[in-house]
């Protein structure tokens, strides 16, 4: 089993390396770059929502702040473009601490309320502070990334840079998930009282998870800005936040492989399902809702054997359970 896994990973890796050389279509390459950005953001979201179990509905706001911070630095202050990267990390850190401290210090669902408000307020300010952010016109002529004089000015060049970054951040995320922190995060989701009884500062670790989520989100925003060259606030709405949540859930909550799978699927599906036109989002949302009820752990749970080492796959187990739950309710 393990050999097959490694072989598959190598195959995918080689395919991804070769992809832009085989497919010269700029649009496809751009789409893949978007996939890498989404993968990074979803892996961040996974820390707070997937592992720690605190709902974060403000990914759009975090993403927007990361994007705008870097874009405004480049266009207004004419700083070198790479400065945006540490700036994005700093902004993410500030959001994580500033929003995480008030909402996670107290037990409850406050994070979902504050983040949802935060992302609306960010959008409001970006739209209305016209002198500073350009209002609904957005920021134009954002320069491409460059390193040591080499400019990443085509989707082809950006592809390899973002591919590399996504791999590095994915390895980091996977290490965090299986580290002491990751285990504590999962434990907080499952039973926060028990964690507290073990002498672990739950509030602090939740804030840490949220801070990491914000940093990943801001890095995603930074990469997005310098890929698109133009940003405006209308893109960063509630729908975007929900999209990231859907990516995380479709792929698999709590696992990095699942996040990657989900990000790839949800980003590329609109292109495949173009023929449905208007009905696309409706059908897709209904599929997601069915997923939420029948396969809550996402697609990756199809490939994992269930906890009790049963012969059949997890899906049968979960469908059986879900139908039991559903049927039980209906019977009453």
């Amino acid at each position: 089993m393990k050999k097959i896994k490694i072989a598959l990973m190598v195959l995918v890796f080689v395919l991804l390396i070769a992809f832009p050389m085989l497919d010269g279509n700029l649009y496809h390459q751009q789409l893949m770059n978007q996939v890498f950005v989404n993968i990074i953001v979803v892996m961040g979201l996974n820390f707070i929502t997937g592992l720690t179990g605190q709902m974060n509905l403000g990914t759009a706001g975090i993403f927007a702040l990361g994007a705008y911070a870097s874009a405004l630095m480049c266009t207004k202050l004419h700083t070198p473009v790479w400065i945006g990267f540490p700036i994005a990390i700093l902004v993410g850190f500030l959001i994580g601490r500033g929003l995480g401290y008030p909402s996670l210090r107290v037990k409850g669902v406050y994070l979902s309320l504050t983040t949802i408000g935060f992302s609306e307020v960010v959008r409001l300010i970006l739209t209305n502070a016209i002198d500073f952010t350009g209002g609904s016109q957005g920021v134009q002529n954002i320069p491409f990334l460059n390193l040591f004089g080499f400019e990443f000015n085509t989707p082809f060049k950006i592809y390899y840079l973002y591919f590399g970054l996504a791999i590095i951040l994915a390895i980091a995320a996977a290490r965090v998930v299986s580290s002491k922190w990751g285990r504590v995060f999962k434990a907080i989701r499952d039973n926060s009282d028990a964690v507290e009884a073990c002498g672990i500062d739950v509030a602090n670790l939740k804030i840490l998870a949220f801070t990491m989520a914000a940093i990943y989100g801001c890095i995603g925003g930074f990469l997005y800005t310098h890929m698109m060259g133009y940003i405006n606030p209308t893109a960063f709405n509630q729908d975007l936040s929900v999209n990231y949540l859907v990516m995380m859930m479709i792929g698999g909550i709590g696992s990095v492989a699942g996040n990657i799978l989900g990000a790839v699927m949800v980003t590329l599906l609109p292109e495949i399902l173009r023929f449905m036109q208007n009905y696309y989002w409706l059908i897709f949302s209904i599929i997601t809702l069915i997923f939420a009820v029948f396969l809550p752990n996402g697609i990756v749970s199809l490939f994992k054997k269930s906890e009790r080492q049963e012969k059949h796959f997890n899906i049968f187990h979960s469908i059986k359970k879900a139908t039991e739950v559903w049927g039980g309710r209906l019977a009453k």
């Binding site: 609306e120 409001l124 509630q238 929900v242 909550i253 409706l282 809702l289 009820v293 309710r329």
Partner: protein, 292 residues
Amino acid sequence: MMESILQLIVSGVAMGFIYALVGIEYTLVWNSTGLLNFSHDKFIMLSAYIFAGTFVVKMGLPPAVGVIASLLVMFIFGMLVAVGIFNPLRSMASPIFAVMGTVVLGRIISEMVRLIWGPIPFTLPNYLTGTYQLGNIIIGRVNVWIIVISSLLVAALQIFFKTTKTGKAMRCVQQNKKAATLMGIDVSKNIVFTIVLSSLVCTVIGMLVIPLFTVDTSMANMIGLKGFSSGVIGGFGYLPGVIAGGVFLGVLENFSTIVLPAVYKDCVGFVLMIIFLLVRPSGILGHRKNLR
């Protein structure tokens, strides 16, 4: 000066009652299922569309008939959502899946609305428009209607919870589900009832806010958020607290326009929510029971 302050207070109280109703509606669901209904703003939007789009504009019914018809439709809708989605979601392994379910439900509703009624916003002409004049004070007709109907609704809900058997059972489920089951209360049925009640309150909100906003798919986003804020300000999961928080937020928000540019009025609720979380997480009325 005096007049303008009074006018600000009246329109603030009217808006505050809307926030309070939003707060009541999601607090009911939160207390009985332990889930936050993130699609509640979509419920409000949907009811506005059903009332204005279908019954008044398309079928040409008089508003009074339209009100009853939309209440009926939303009653059935609430029942379907409760039986098909909320009850199965409540027993999921982790609340995160359930929350996801409500978020996705909201998206399904707004997509359906876009497909059925089209993406173009519209308004209802001659519906609750005009003003009343009292001396030098001019009050919008819609504000008076909002205040009257909301206070009647709040009073009716209080009487319902305090005196009727169903109301008492609902309060019992909110306090302790296991004990409620032991006392012979059908928790699932109770939850269905709560969600139906909440969607009816949503319908009332949706019909009341039509003159204030144009009818479009994002009309209720802001009041939905501020309903959450007013819950945190007044005391989360506590009905009197939510009402106090809503009115407080409505008035304060109106007064903020004296100091701040009007476009940033919507930020006040958010900033206030953060301040309350930092300084007084139990809210104005200091109710600690539901801080879990």
